[in-house]
Structure formats: structure tokens, C-alpha cells
């Protein structure tokens, strides 16, 4: 019993410290890397034909918040695909020239490869996560598609690039030598520049940008430190929060076990306590006996749990480290986490022991010495009501009697089993929801197409929109095509100053055709209608029916908000327009991206290859969102975390069942002896204990399933709201869920059966005379 209680304390300590460490650690490595590499807090990407670099530089340099402004770095946005060992890598990549200024700001940390000052001619430095995802090694050659054809570069290093390490900022960034771009990109197309501003305090970013936007009519892209940080931290924050929430549940269960074992101990030591009191022990002395016992237990077992958490943390931080390109994360969390966990859990255990041992303090010495055991009181509401009319077998009847005789303990046991089953159902269905993203894309904010292709404009002989639509419309395996384009706008304040730039999409067809969904309202249809992503709507307090002033396509425009939607791709920021709006602002606007929905049972990969063969370099096929998310390891990380969580709670549940059975055996020892004396076999007695736990489990099962199915999406919605999902796209995995139930019941039965062994083996006379 002591061992079981100690193990539950250790498990609670393990979960609690792991949750705290994850939450504390995820930010630290990122910030450390950011500072170490003097990374810019504001990254501006713009066309030099439209913007004046020196004006921006001068202005930012003069601001007191600014620490340093970088020299502009030319870049080229390559839409991919990259060619690697005859395979196509569908990534959009920002090829940026590395210059001398990068030794001062936006430095790069070489993880693998030769440690040079910069890439040399014909070389490329890739972010570590990208190299890992596609198993690209140092020395490999990759082909970069350019207007003039494929340009071969050698991967000479993999680097940690803090702004892009999460893999969730798209396009990603790779580095080439100074002056490399003109080798394969026509100079006329080289007008993009990246400018970095490093601040003294990243918290001053939004104020500084607000001032900047008031001064300048900036129409480029601005990426900020908070975007980079959220992209990196998003999934780990979810995991950390989940682990912490469930660790608190585990802690409560551990404290329950502490209390149960104290109650059992008080029962066991009843007569002895009476003797101690008769000898002169005060109630305070009696309480301190138990408090010291459990303090020692905590001191022994909490470090065991913390030692276990060290491995868990290392595992999870290793995963984070991989995402950061190998940046050292192992010791990034404070050792103080261990001390905090030790202190918090030890205090809680001692407090529980203190309150639980009051019963011992109140023992009447005379009664204790005479009776040897506390007078048992049992509930009047016993089941079954009439044994003579009951159809149940005897072990079940006795199980129901034991269960109903002590309703408080049965209730507590039921709560623990219910929580465990809830967590199992939660884990199965949440994992399934992530895994089945491809079948539920609209709920995540994506089009329901099977393929997304981009029409290449920077090719010698390309296709225009109409030509491509005509070609696609003749394909019998295509169900429908929804053309759209990526665009961006700046939301204006009341004073008509841009305060936030957001990216969005404009659709050439009805948005319903793409399967898109709204949380509220409806899709935009006319030229003056817009729907906003939930984060944007919340930030600007907009709802359907409100109007919003924006700056788009070089014009100030007012839109009517028709709907609110959720979309995980931009952390909850974004907008949707109908193409009518774009054409009104820019009559020559044409869509360049196409979401293609195929007919049922069509082989998607086969069709992709067919399209590429047919249309060649005029199109590129974008990596599907599910592939990108899989590559980032998000699904596998979530599944691992959820599996670990379920596993821990199953262990806790089995520990509490074990505790309950041992207490039951102790309390009912004499009854078992009596039953044996009248002819009950040992197995019948064991079965009555198994049935007792099973009856509780079956009773709470339905509540747990109902809660699991109804509360899981709500709980996850709270956790994922930070990344733009307030209504979690929940898919119930019926087969796995329904299979897990009998498996759990079998596990409970086997555990109960095994633990009831001691009741079976003991001699009836010994039991009766106990």
C-alpha cells in the first residue's frame, strides 16, 4: 500500500514538473538563440521599386527603441519545387544573399558543415529543420528552379535561423553567397529586399510599427518577433498546457491515495493508537506520527518522479531542439523547476496527511483497546434491495453490497475511473482529429481540395488563368476547381493609419464551393464584402454586419464584414474576399492558385504526376497542408504526448484500484473469512472484488464517454484558440474509442483479480479472527 501511494506521488511529481518545464523551456531556447544571433525583431520584405530603403533605415536608426538596423539583403522568392535526388520538394523558399552585415545582425549558427564566414559561390545554407525533414545531407546538390531553368547549388551547411526555425513561417529562408542571385535570376526581377530591425526591447515592436505606419505609406510585408515566436511556440505551448492541466488531476489523485492510505493506516493502528494514548501520547503526537511518515514518503518518492521527468523533458526538448535545428535545449529549463515541484507536492502531501490523521487524533483509547477497530457504519441505501429476488450471481450481489455499503469510497473510485476513461477518449479522438485533418480541412480553415497548384507566371511560356481553367475543366477526374489568390491588406485605425498587416485569400468562385466554413455569418460574395479570421475579428472587435477600413491594392477601402471564420494557417489572423472585390480594386487581377477537388477514389499522387507531366513548368504543385504538418512532426508530437498522458492516467487509475482493493481486503477481512466458512470459494470472493470495481467502471463509463465526446472539443478549443482554432475540428474515432472501452475494463479486471490474491490465499480462521 505504501509502495502504491509512493508511486502515485512519484507519477504526479513527474507530470507536474514535466508540464512546468515544458512551458518554461519552450520560450527560453528561442529567446536565447534570438539574442545570441542578434536576430531582428522586425523583418521588412518589400520591392525597392516601391519603397525607399535609405528612408526606412534612417528613420528606424533615429528611433530610441532601435538597437540596430541591418543593411538590406536582396532576396528572391522561389515558389519551388526544389529538385533533390530526382525528387521534388514542394516548398516556397526565400533565397537571401548573405552579406558582411550578417556578422553583426541576423547572424546564423552553423549546425553542420564547414564553418565559414558565408556561403561561397554555388553553395547554399539551409535551415536545419528543412534539411532534417527531407534528409538532405551536407554535400548534397539541390536544384533551384529559376526563370532560366534549374540552378544547382551544393548544400555546404545547415544552420539555425531563429526567425524561420519553427517551419511554420512560409515561405522559409535559405542563404546563398553575396552576388549569387544574378547568376540565375534576371536582374530585372531582382527588386526584393529584406531589411531587419533589432530592438532594445521586443515589447516595443507594435508601438514602433504604429508610428512607422503613420509616417510611411508602406505596402510591403512586415514580419515581427511575436509572429516568429508564436509560430515556434504554438504546438509546444499546447502540449505543455495539456500536460500541466492533467498533472494537476494526477496530483489530486495522488493526494486522494495519500488520504486513503492514511485512513487504512488509522484503521490498522486503531488499537495501537489507543494504547499509545493510554501511555500518554497527545493527539498532536499521534498526528505527527502520520505527518512524518508521509513527509518521509514524499522525500523518497518525489525525487523518483522528478528523475523520471528529467527523461521526459529531455525527450520533449530533444524534439524542440530538432525543430530549432539542434540548438542546445537540454538544460534550458531552470533547475528551480525541480525544487518548485518538490516543494509544492511535498507541502500538499503533508497537508493531506495532516488533515487525514485528525481521525487518529480523535480515537477514544478505551474504545480502541476494547474493540480493536472503529465501529463501522455503512450506508442505509444498499444494493441490491432484495437479494432473494435478485437475478445476479452471488459474487455480483456481494460486490453491489460492498460498493453501496461505502458510497463515499465508491464515488471517489468512480471519479478516478471516469477521469481516466475521459482522458483515454480525449486522447484517442484528439489524435484522430489531427490525423484526419486531410478529411476535415475546411474545419481547420483550408479549402477541401485534394491538390493545390500554383500557376507559374515567371516562365517563358506560361498559361494564363483562362487557359488553365479550360485545361482543367476537360479532366474527367476533377470534380471542381476553385481558383484563388493570396493577397494582403493593412487594417486601418480610426485615424486611417495602418495598424496591422494581414494575409488573406480572394476566391474566384463561391467560397462554399471550396468547402470553406464560417463560425458566424456567411461568405463574402460582392465586391464590398469581407470575412475575417477569428483572431483578427477579435482584435478589432468586429462581427458580421460591422464595417472595417482597410488599405488594399494601394487603395483605402471600406468593407462590410459578412462572416467570421477560423484558420490555423496564420495563427488566427486573415481575411477572405470574393474575387469581385479584387477586380474592383485591380481590374487585371487574376487568380494564380487553384484548389482542385478530385472525384472519389481517384489516386491523388497519380493525378499529381499526370498534371506535372502534362503541364510541365507552367505549374507547381504545392505541398498539401497535411503533408506540411506531418513533416513538421506536429501530429507525431501530439500523439506521443497524448499517448504518454493516457498511459500515466491508466497507471494512476490502476494504482487507485489497487489501493481500494487492499483497503477493502483489510476492512472486509473478517467478512471474507465468514463467507469462506459458509462455503464461498476463494475465487468467488475474488470475483466479488473484481465485480465491485467493474460495476463502478460500467456505471461511470457512460458519463465518461459522454463527457469525453462533448468536452474534448471544448477543452481543445480553449487550448488551440491561441493558434486560431476556437472550435476545435473534432472527429470521433468510433472504432478505436469503442475498442478502448472493453480493453480498459479488461485491464481493470485483471488488475483487480491479481491484487485480490491475498484475500483468496489466507486461511479462513485467520481472516475470521483478525
Amino acid at each position: 500500500m505504501t509502495l502504491l501511494t509512493g508511486l502515485s506521488i512519484a507519477l504526479a511529481a513527474l507530470l507536474f514538473s514535466s508540464g512546468l518545464a515544458i512551458l518554461q523551456s519552450i520560450q527560453k531556447p528561442f529567446d536565447k538563440l534570438y539574442d545570441k544571433l542578434n536576430a531582428s525583431h522586425i523583418v521588412m520584405l518589400y520591392d525597392v521599386n516601391n519603397q525607399n530603403t535609405s528612408e526606412f533605415k534612417d528613420w528606424f536608426t533615429r528611433q530610441p527603441e532601435t538597437e540596430r538596423v541591418s543593411e538590406g539583403s536582396p532576396y528572391f522568392l522561389c515558389n519551388g519545387p526544389l529538385l533533390y535526388k530526382r525528387n521534388k520538394i514542394e516548398v516556397m523558399i526565400q533565397l537571401t544573399e548573405y552579406n558582411n552585415d550578417n556578422s553583426m545582425q541576423d547572424k546564423l549558427m552553423i549546425i553542420e558543415g564547414a564553418h565559414k564566414k558565408s556561403p561561397e559561390h554555388g553553395e547554399i545554407w539551409l535551415p536545419k529543420y528543412l534539411a532534417n525533414n527531407y534528409h538532405i545531407q551536407i554535400g548534397d546538390t539541390i536544384g533551384i528552379p529559376g526563370p532560366g531553368g534549374l540552378y544547382q547549388v551544393i548544400v555546404s551547411a545547415t544552420i539555425a535561423d531563429p526567425q524561420y526555425e519553427s517551419g511554420m513561417v512560409n515561405p522559409t529562408r535559405a542563404w546563398i553567397a553575396t552576388g549569387e542571385l544574378p547568376f540565375f535570376i534576371p536582374v530585372t526581377q531582382l527588386s526584393n529586399t529584406m531589411l531587419g530591425i533589432r530592438l532594445k526591447n521586443p515589447d516595443s515592436t507594435s508601438n514602433l510599427l504604429e508610428t512607422f505606419n503613420r509616417q510611411f505609406n508602406y505596402t510591403g510585408v512586415i514580419l515581427t518577433y511575436s509572429l516568429f515566436k508564436n509560430a515556434y511556440m504554438g504546438i509546444y505551448q499546447i502540449m505543455g498546457n495539456l500536460i500541466l492541466v492533467f498533472s494537476i488531476m494526477a496530483l489530486l489523485i495522488a493526494l486522494f491515495m495519500v488520504r486513503s492510505s492514511i485512513i487504512r493506516a488509522v484503521y490498522d493502528d486503531y488499537k495501537l493508537t489507543g494504547v499509545y494514548k493510554a501511555l500518554g501520547f497527545t493527539p498532536k503526537n499521534v498526528v505527527s506520527l502520520y505527518v512524518i511518515q508521509y513527509l518521509l514518503l514524499s522525500i523518497l518518492f518525489i525525487p523518483v518522479g522528478l528523475a523520471g521527468s528529467w527523461f521526459i523533458i529531455k525527450l520533449l526538448l530533444g524534439s524542440i531542439s530538432q525543430k530549432l535545428g539542434g540548438f542546445e535545449t537540454a538544460n534550458s529549463f531552470q533547475q528551480s523547476i525541480y525544487f518548485i515541484s518538490l516543494f509544492v507536492i511535498a507541502v500538499l502531501v503533508v497537508l493531506t496527511a495532516f488533515t487525514g490523521s485528525f481521525k487518529a487524533a480523535k480515537i477514544n483509547p478505551v474504545e480502541a483497546i476494547r474493540t480493536g477497530a472503529p465501529v463501522k457504519r455503512f450506508s442505509k441505501f444498499l444494493m441490491p434491495k432484495e437479494i432473494s429476488k435478485s437475478i445476479f450471481p452471488l459474487p455480483v450481489i456481494m460486490a453491489l453490497r460492498f460498493l453501496s455499503a461505502n458510497p463515499r469510497r465508491s464515488f471517489s473510485q468512480g471519479i478516478i475511473i471516469m477521469v481516466t476513461i475521459f482522458i483515454i477518449i480525449f486522447s484517442i479522438n484528439i489524435s484522430s482529429s489531427f490525423e484526419n485533418l486531410k478529411d476535415n480541412k475546411p474545419a481547420w480553415g483550408f479549402e477541401n481540395g485534394d491538390i493545390q497548384l500554383s500557376r507559374r507566371e515567371a516562365v517563358v511560356i506560361g498559361l494564363n488563368n483562362e487557359q488553365l481553367i479550360e485545361i482543367l475543366s476537360k479532366e474527367k477526374t476533377i470534380e471542381h476547381v476553385v481558383p484563388f489568390s493570396y493577397t494582403s491588406l493593412s487594417i486601418l485605425s480610426n485615424a486611417d493609419l495602418p495598424i496591422l498587416e494581414i494575409n488573406g485569400k480572394a476566391y474566384a468562385d463561391s467560397l462554399s464551393y471550396a468547402g470553406l466554413l464560417n463560425l458566424k455569418g456567411k461568405h463574402p460574395q460582392s465586391a464590398n464584402e469581407i470575412s475575417l479570421c477569428v483572431g483578427t475579428a477579435s482584435q478589432f472587435n468586429k462581427k458580421p454586419g460591422d464595417s472595417i477600413n482597410v488599405f488594399i491594392e494601394g487603395q483605402k477601402t471600406n468593407f462590410l464584414v459578412t462572416g467570421i471564420y477560423q484558420d490555423v494557417s496564420n495563427m488566427g489572423q486573415g481575411f477572405r474576399l470574393h474575387e469581385n472585390a479584387m477586380k474592383k480594386l485591380n481590374p487585371i487581377h487574376t487568380p494564380a492558385v487553384y484548389s482542385i477537388k478530385l472525384k472519389k477514389n481517384t489516386d491523388v499522387n497519380k493525378f499529381k504526376n499526370y498534371l506535372l507531366k502534362k503541364l510541365g513548368e507552367t505549374i507547381s504543385i504545392d505541398a498539401s497542408i497535411e503533408d506540411r504538418i506531418t513533416q513538421m512532426g506536429i501530429i507525431s508530437s501530439m500523439k506521443t504526448a497524448l499517448f504518454a498522458l493516457s498511459f500515466f492516467f491508466i497507471i494512476i487509475m490502476l494504482l487507485t484500484i489497487g489501493s481500494d482493493i487492499l483497503i477493502s481486503i483489510k476492512e472486509n477481512q473478517k467478512h471474507f473469512g465468514i463467507l469462506k466458512s459458509i462455503g464461498w470459494t476463494p475465487n468467488q470472493i475474488r470475483m466479488s472484488m473484481v465485480w465491485k470495481i467493474l460495476c463502478i467502471a460500467v456505471a461511470v463509463l457512460w458519463i465518461a464517454i459522454t463527457l469525453g465526446v462533448s468536452l474534448s472539443p471544448v477543452l481543445m478549443g480553449q487550448v488551440t484558440s491561441g493558434i486560431g482554432l476556437i472550435k476545435f475540428p473534432f472527429i470521433i474515432n468510433y472504432p478505436e474509442m469503442l475498442m478502448s472501452i472493453p480493453l480498459t475494463l479488461v485491464l481493470i479486471s485483471v488488475c483487480s483479480w491479481w491484487l485480490s490474491k491475498s484475500s483468496a490465499s489466507t486461511n479462513p480462521r485467520t481472516l475470521i479472527n483478525s
Binding site: 455503512f378 432473494s388 429476488k389 463467507l675 469462506k676 459458509i678 462455503g679 470459494t681 480462521r765
Partner: protein
């Protein structure tokens, strides 16, 4: 083998271990015939209850043999002994040992349902027994709600529900007042008159006189001359028994 119900041969039961091992039952050879009302008496700590527990299979001997009818029980598994106790042995404890969260009737039924699948029949039989023993009105009450004597009669009903071959009773009147004791003993006498084989442990002379034979357990053993046949018709039986017991060392 003659018509015996219970027979033991060189029965030994030790407690403790090593140098602290002590034989509480030491080479007991007894034979109890059908229909006999045997009384086991002895001083405190002589092993009377231990002997009774061994005869019922509730405890296992250190060595020696025990037969119930012709069935050896000394080397049986717990499961086999439980099956034996269901059908052949009824046990009445000193402190009744009824299960507190079952009613009087339910305490009897949980024993009866073990043998018969026909619960209606068992229920009827239980009610008949309770009526015979004068406790039918207490059927729906819990043990905490009835008196000691009534509890003991309920325990007797439980022991009889499966029509056992042998009824074993360990100081059934030990915790009862004289009135309650008298009622319980009268039950036993009545049962014996109907042919029930009874083995009862007691330290009370009056109770002992209800039996047909008294066995005296001394230092864990019952030699042949430690038997006294009670003549109930003889008016001086109690005095004679007293004298005999005194001579035995009681």
C-alpha cells in the same frame, strides 16, 4: 470403517516456528458417530476452538488425518474445502459472525444460494427455518438491530440452510445471557432430537449436559479415557460430570 461422521487420526496442529513452535493439538484421535451430540471441553488455551476449526476445514492440520464421512479433508485445496463446507458442514461461531450489511434473511440466503440454483425454494426454506427458530419477524432487520440471542439463532439458521450433515458450534452461548443461552441450547437439543449430528465446544457445565458425550481436551490431546457419556435421564448427571471433569483437571 464404522458409521462415523468425523474421524481424526494422529491429528497435530502447531503454532509458531523454530524453537517457538508449540503443538496446540497434539496427536488427537477421535471418532464422532452420526446423530451424536458431542461436547468438547477443556481449560482455556487447551485448543478446543482450534480442534473445531480443524474438523470444519477452516484451518489445516500440521500433520495427521481428518475424514468427514469417508472423505479425507486434511490435504484438500481451499476450493474443495469450501465446497465441502457448503454441503456437509454448518458452523456456528461464538460471536455469530453475521455480515453487518446484509439483513438476517440475506445472511441466511447467501449461504443457501451457494448450493441451490432455485432461489425461490431456498427463500422458502430460509423462512421455514427462521420460523422454527422464532426469528421470522426479524428477517428484514440488520444484525445491529437485533439482540445477541436472536443473532445466534440467525447464525444457526444460516448454518442449517443447506441441511448439513454436521453442525459445529464454537461456544455458541459464550456471549449470551442465561435466558438467551437457554433458548439457543434448546434449539440445539431439538435439532439433535431430529437426528442432527452436532459437535459443540463449551466451557459451561449446563451446556455440556445437553450433549450425549463429553470429550475433554487436555494439553492438546484427548486420550480414550477422556470421554464421558451423558445420561440425560439420570438426575445427578450434572454433578457426576462435574466430578469427572475435575478429575480430568478442569
Amino acid at each position: 470403517m464404522t458409521n462415523f461422521c468425523i474421524k481424526t487420526e494422529r491429528l497435530v496442529k502447531n503454532y509458531g516456528s523454530g524453537t517457538f513452535e508449540n503443538a496446540i493439538i497434539n496427536n488427537v484421535n477421535i471418532s464422532i458417530t452420526s446423530g451424536e451430540f458431542s461436547i468438547i471441553m477443556g481449560n482455556s488455551g487447551s485448543g478446543k476452538s482450534t480442534l473445531l476449526y480443524l474438523l470444519s476445514g477452516l484451518d489445516s492440520p500440521s500433520s495427521g488425518k481428518i475424514w468427514i464421512k469417508n472423505i479425507p479433508i486434511h490435504n484438500r485445496s481451499q476450493k474443495d474445502l469450501a465446497m465441502l463446507r457448503r454441503k456437509m458442514i454448518g458452523f456456528v461461531f461464538q460471536d455469530n459472525n453475521l455480515i453487518p450489511n446484509l439483513t438476517i434473511q440475506e445472511n441466511i440466503l447467501v449461504a443457501g444460494f451457494l448450493v441451490s440454483g432455485n432461489r425461490k425454494l431456498v427463500n422458502q426454506h430460509a423462512e421455514n427455518l427462521m420460523e422454527e427458530l422464532g426469528i421470522l419477524s426479524l428477517a428484514k432487520r440488520y444484525p445491529s438491530q437485533v439482540s445477541g440471542g436472536e443473532l445466534q439463532r440467525a447464525a444457526i439458521a444460516r448454518a442449517l440452510i443447506n441441511n448439513p450433515m454436521i453442525l459445529l458450534a464454537d461456544e455458541p452461548t459464550g456471549n449470551l445471557n442465561s435466558e438467551a443461552s437457554e433458548k439457543v441450547l434448546e434449539c440445539f437439543s431439538e435439532l439433535n432430537r431430529k437426528g442432527q449430528t452436532i459437535v459443540m465446544v463449551t466451557h459451561d457445565l449446563k451446556s455440556a449436559c445437553r450433549g450425549s458425550r463429553v470429550l475433554f481436551l487436555k494439553d492438546g490431546t484427548i486420550p480414550d479415557n477422556h470421554s464421558y457419556y451423558v445420561d440425560k435421564n439420570h438426575p445427578g448427571t450434572e454433578d457426576e460430570l462435574f466430578t469427572w471433569l475435575k478429575n480430568m483437571g478442569w
